[in-house]
Assembly symmetry: C2
Homo-oligomer: 698 residues x 2
């Protein structure tokens, strides 16, 4: 089935057409009459002959021509028959508003959805929905949408896909909402979210893709779409739900989607440069920023120009709290500004211009251009709260100044930041937008959005391995731990360095091994049934002599017999005693949907207490491994903290890459890898894998 048949139909039949407000049929017809060319639509309803003055047919049979797409406004029970009848008329696509499918969480609902999917596959019909609000194609003016909004031109370059219909409507209700496509995908059970995403990533009329996402059903297509966007550097802004347990629960009953692990999505979005936002305000405003500014800079080193000292200080504080900073202006810029500003002003970035310059458009333009021309600056933020009713005329001069600079060419991107939410004057909003200046929401939001913008523009797809190691779709049922020695042996085969160790089945064997290895030694019970060896008294450290070795052997065996009587014992592992380094953890969580996610963090209790862990999808290269390490709060401990030496970061990146490769190669077998602790030593002295635990499925 072909998604273009759905989103770019030439002739459309509306089944269940009516004039009744608040009904799918009535509101769809009303929308068509308001926004689309009625000659492209046929209305069908056996009870009517005319709708809003246009002919209404008894049935699809009576429609004089074939049609590509059918909008089904009638209840669930009628859907399958209508699809079949429509097929007779050449129909290749359908929109189904009706609910009652998998989102109900009932067996009946799930069966109905399965039947719907199978029918569509059989008939080769690309279906939007069910349980959806329809879609609008603003490029070709196709209006197949069940909700009423204010009559207004909304054609723009943001492509919106949403698993919530209300969210589409809210974004359309906002003056910032300018779209190429709005797609309310509902359960997205035939054509899926990721297929719409892929379509919009490829669509030339769409500059920015905005997505409200509850879950993904075809990870392969999802990853392909993200990869294409990363390479093109087309921004995808995603509001992905499921950060909270409650949110995930409600998601599951909303469109029947399973969210998957939230942290996995964060990791994937990082790899592909996807912008993840927190709420609808951020979704719309980030998309609006990316859609409105004309060219994306390579970096986002910001300048800020304000009319008051207080507002300048607030801007500095909040930018700092979001990890943004305002670089210093060059001496040349400062000199020029000093000449323009009143004597009591101190030029700085962020800049308190004082109000004086903003009452003269030429002076304002000159100051703006001066800041813009600073080589340390990539983008200029204009701090000003635009009101609905203009009381202070300075916005007139400021806008004129901005327009002057834009007209003269060679501008850098600009955005306006209000200090308080307020009604915004539509005339100036439009003029600023035309000049490529979006108005962001107030400071806290604005700084969050700009941080994401900054990350986006600095994202370079060449530094990332743009693929995931997606697992086969079958999950095996039996999971089991490997013993420490088995785990290490498996890792060693993959080129991961593990310390010397041997299994002693008897005390005598232990003595022999010790002669070879030398003291001090470590002894650990070796059993796949005892993943947590310390808990059963199965570990003895710092054994210094044959005598101590003998005692330790007996003690471990006694402890294990007592504490884990049913465990199958391979023997006792005799290892060289490793010198202690910085304790780290390197591991793998194999996500059932997206495959192995590699993790790295500070070891010990601190992983869990401070959650200072980097997670990133395999496969990955050395740059990506390095960026994982750098993203840790504990990173300064590795680079030579206070009087301590720099540690062997190269060895650590190497380990991470090898673990990633190992996980990719074994993606259908290895469920978890936990190398904990890794001892990281001083630069040049590498690291040691002190313990390892692998969980496999069979």
């Amino acid at each position: 089935m072909n998604i273009s048949n759905l989103l770019q139909p030439k002739k459309i039949a509306v089944i269940g057409a009516s004039e009744r407000g608040g009904s799918f049929g009535g509101d769809t017809c009303r929308n068509i009459m308001d926004f689309s060319n009625p000659s492209k639509y046929y209305f069908v309803n056996p009870k009517r002959t005319e709708i809003f003055g246009q002919k209404c047919y008894n049935s699809t049979d009576e429609i004089p021509t074939n049609f590509d797409m059918v909008i089904i406004c009638t209840p669930q029970s009628s859907v399958i028959d209508i699809l079949k009848q429509s097929k007779e008329k050449g129909c290749k696509a359908a929109v189904v508003y009706a609910s009652g499918y998998s989102e109900t969480g009932t067996v009946e609902g799930k069966i109905a959805e399965k039947e719907l999917i199978e029918t569509c596959i059989q008939l080769d019909i690309a279906l939007l929905g069910p349980n959806c609000g329809g879609f609008i194609n603003y490029i070709d003016n196709v209006y197949s949408f069940a909700f009423i909004s204010e009559k207004r031109d909304r054609k723009g370059n943001v492509g919106l896909i949403s698993q919530s219909g209300q969210l589409c409507l809210s974004l359309m209700d906002n003056p910032k909402g300018k779209f190429s496509y709005v797609i309310s995908a509902g359960n997205s059970s035939v054509i899926t979210m990721e297929e719409y995403l892929n379509y919009l990533v490829e669509d030339q009329n769409t500059k920015v893709v905005a997505v409200y996402l509850e879950g993904v059903s075809k990870p392969g297509i999802f990853v392909e779409a993200l990869k294409k966007a990363a390479i093109k550097k087309k921004p995808i802004v995603v509001l992905k739900t499921g950060r909270s347990e409650k949110g995930s629960q409600i998601s599951a009953s909303h469109t029947g989607s399973l969210s998957g692990s939230d942290k996995t999505y964060d990791a994937i979005f990082k790899k592909f440069g996807v912008i993840r936002v927190n709420d609808m305000e951020e979704l719309l405003s980030t998309a609006h920023l990316l859609a409105t500014i004309k060219e994306y800079p390579k970096k986002a080193r910001l300048a800020s120009m304000n009319l008051s000292g207080g507002e300048t200080i607030i801007t500095a504080d909040m930018a700092y709290s979001k990890g943004l900073n305002f670089p210093d202006f060059t001496k040349e810029t400062l000199n020029k500004l000093n000449q323009m500003l009143p004597s009591y002003a101190t030029p700085n970035n962020p800049l308190d211009m004082t109000a004086t310059l903003s009452y003269d458009s030429k002076k304002y333009a000159k100051a703006l251009k001066t800041v813009m021309d600073d080589p340390n600056i990539d983008m200029v933020l204009i701090g000003y709260t635009l009101l609905l009713n203009i009381a202070d005329p300075c916005i007139y001069y400021m806008t004129e100044g901005i327009e002057k600079v834009v007209k003269e060419g060679n501008t850098k991107p600009m955005a306006m930041i209000p200090y308080i939410e307020n009604t915004r004057n539509p005339e100036y909003t439009e003029r600023l937008e035309k000049a490529g200046v979006p108005i962001l929401p107030p400071v806290v939001y604005a700084m969050e959005i700009l941080k994401k913008f900054s990350d986006f523009v600095e994202y370079n797809s060449e530094n990332h391995t743009l693929e995931l190691a997606l697992p086969k779709n079958t999950r095996l049922k039996t999971k089991k731990f490997l013993s420490e020695h088995e785990s290490k042996t498996m890792l060693a085969k993959a080129g991961i360095p593990v310390p010397k160790e041997q299994i002693a089945k008897t005390k005598e064997e232990a003595y022999e091994i010790a002669k070879e290895t030398g003291y001090p030694l470590v002894m650990k019970i070796e059993s796949a049934d005892i993943p947590h060896k310390s808990d059963v008294g199965g570990v003895k450290l710092n054994i210094k002599s044959e005598k101590e070795l003998g005692q330790a052997f007996d003690e471990i065996m006694n402890n294990v017999v007592k504490n884990a009587p049913e465990a199958k014992i391979n023997g006792i592992l005799v290892q060289e005693m490793l010198s202690k380094g910085l304790e780290l953890i390197v591991g793998v969580n194999n996500d059932p949907i997206y495959g192995p996610m590699v993790l790295c963090g500070l070891g010990g209790v601190f992983v869990e207490i401070f959650k200072d862990v980097a997670l990133y999808p395999a496969p990955l290269n050395h740059i990506e491994a390095m960026n994982m390490i750098k993203s840790l709060k504990a990173y300064p401990l590795l680079t030579g903290y206070r009087s301590s030496e720099e540690l062997d970061i190269e060895a650590l990146t190497d380990l991470i890459v090898k673990v990633s490769d190992f996980a990719v190669k074994n993606k259908d077998k290895v469920v978890e890898v936990d190398i904990n602790p890794v001892f990281l030593y001083e630069k040049g002295k590498k690291l040691s894998v002190a313990d390892a635990l692998i969980l496999i499925q069979e």
Copy 2:
């Protein structure tokens, strides 16, 4: 001088009155004509006889009566003379707009400000400013303000004090801005910020105090005002700048204020239950929330009612990310909701009501009341994006439903949360506000505000020692470290338990001490000149015999002679070897303005890497000490993490309280205390002060 003379004057003279727009004189007169009773004002300008139809006098002499207050619209050079002339006419208060004082950062500016202050003290004139925008008293309709805003009724119950004039104007420009007082305090060099704060805390017409604060000059009055507010539980919402270094720098040049340490302010605000916000949007919206809802609950357990699944999920996610949670409804509530909602809906908190109920005001009221009556719920959030132009009629039914519930009495607080910033319909905004329902900004802001609201309503002043140990105003110049032994001796005198230790001046003395103490031992160089003993090789641990002791003595001495040849040595400290516990740090930073701040956190490198430190002003009691400990991220390590034992938290609170008492008693002497590490042991086994360092001033 009396602040009431300034803020509640009966008769006012305006010097430099004019009709010229954009000038202090012109805009002040324009404001008076627009908003105040002109019979209370006299205009003075030798160049005019009439202003906007009202008589204008040549000089203050000519004014037929005495006046209480003078508004000086003329430049800096004229100010002192006008104050003197006004005094002749009984004047007790003045507003000075002119700039050119300490905010310039110049010597001239500082001299001018000093002269101004001295003149006011001499003449007993309560002065607002200089470098300010004036004030408005909405209660008595006194309008002494230099900026023009839209003509509109703004009388309400938020008292605003700001060190930025533009900020006052922006808050007044917003429809949410409803005030008792607006005070643009400028440099606040005569009547200070904290005196305005104190006034508004006491003012019966002010329900909420909102403050934009760059710095404080009279900490005693500041603390008194905070204490009064804490006891009354009158909310103070503060936008305190200086979170970032840049922000602090610009602050310093803006009103000549010194911010003080930002973390100190956080600690003080915690003690007194002050609400600290991030930007102007939060300042206004938090104040608006607190001003609009009729009664504050004791807790803020929230329910959320939304019209769509997507919006419900976003609400759940964002609340979670801010540390808010929605408690489950009782079975009774769920049963009732199940009967009201369509079959496909799953009641939950947050609640996806689906759109159905919102098109019938009775049904909506019933659902709202059901949620409100749940005993687990203290406050109801209504998720809805109100538009300027109403396209969807549901807001009509929802508002009617809300009004119905309010009319029937016994309501719990409500607030509306939009999902996107937008223009808001004024009619419904007003009706909702009248019903006690404020409209908050969109979700990210709203959840941040509600978290602060929740902390505020749960704040109980009885659990806090509502005072600070303010230091004397004189800072002593000579600072010096005490040696470890001197530091511990000083702490021991204050009842803080320190381990056994003695100073050995010779090796022989060391042997003698060792006989008494027993092995293993620790030896450390004892010198006030060596605060960081390890760095010079001055520490030896785990000494097990007389032989090792002799070697260690020599090594330490040799190291110190080599590495710190100029240090005065008291000998070598011989201590029992302490068993290791969890490493913590307890300390004191004596803030030059606000006195000792007690700190507690995880020891070692983790203090600095993870910044997991609690800071709280002395004096403090056991509840406050306990709350400091609980606020640490590392707190789970103390309560029995995984298989480890619970630690002696009681001993730790006890230590914190004793250190606080010690710091209070020595507030003018002790600059810093650093007890690091403290070893905390299992419950019942107390703790050990392993090392201590005190910095004193003389």
